[in-house]
Symmetry: C2
Subunit: 163 residues, 2 copies
């Protein structure tokens, strides 16, 4: 009965993409950063689904589209997008996903379904606070938090349950 987060239920995904691209353009304009065609296309590809995409998956798409792309093409675009908070790298998967909270200055927490591959990005103040407290208790100056939870999303739990 609980309302499920977007990635885990059917939705008009094109709306996600359109919104993400609009946000990205606004953010880049505000930061005087250049969202070039390749960068924008990479962002769009990454938003094709709520599953993280590997750098070489992106590369394959660009190549298939006839773009003259090499690994640095993709990694440079991804670096740019990460620096401007438009995508996140999922360290445990070596893959990239669109940022669901672009421009919000957040610490992302990722729920990664090992069955369907979808990833939900959360902002959990309670978690961030607890992490800060724990770091502070060790006099550690936290700068960058990697928090990735692998498991089963609601949909995949119920499927194994009664399918």
């Amino acid at each position: 009965m609980a309302s499920q987060a977007l990635p885990y239920r059917p939705h008009n995904h094109q709306a996600c993409v359109t919104q993400a691209l609009a946000d990205a353009r606004a953010i880049c304009r505000a930061q005087n950063a250049r969202l070039t065609p390749t960068r924008e296309r990479v962002l769009e590809l990454i938003w094709q689904s709520h599953k993280p995409l590997g750098a070489y998956d992106v590369l394959a798409e660009l190549t298939a589209e006839g773009q003259n792309a090499a690994p640095p093409t993709v990694y440079r675009a991804l670096d740019f997008l990460q620096q401007h908070g438009l995508v996140h790298r999922i360290a445990s998967l070596n893959a990239f996903i669109g940022c669901a909270h672009a421009g919000e200055n957040h610490t992302g927490m990722f729920l990664i379904c090992r069955s369907c591959g979808n990833v939900l990005e959360l902002t959990a103040p309670g978690v961030s606070g607890a992490i800060e407290d724990a770091a502070k208790a060790e006099s550690f100056k936290a700068e960058d938090v990697t928090l990735e939870i692998a498991g089963l999303c609601p949909r995949c739990q119920s499927e194994t349950g009664h399918d």
Copy 2:
């Protein structure tokens, strides 16, 4: 004035290693798992310091010692050690570190100093609890948590401060 955690201050590190190996032997005996010479040597190498070691660093050591080792040799040993909770993989570094809480059934949280490279493994019940709550709020079944905090350890903070 706060007491600093072990990795961040000078200590008789050989004691860490000796203890870790003794624990590992006991754990493997209890679980009826075979801590073969290569596995034990890999564990010992990883415990050489509180800095994570890459798989190919381990491989280079084994080779230097005259062992006939190839990548699978190392990855297999690491897999075994991980499965028995004796080492952790740090996803954000592609490297491995000895588990400071072997046998304790914990969720590790790692404080990674970007200056000196040392890593402190913590068990923070407050953090684990907050993560569980956040996952539960999304009806997500958490199975494996990756939590890695990059930043500056107490020692390296004070060095940049007045050195």
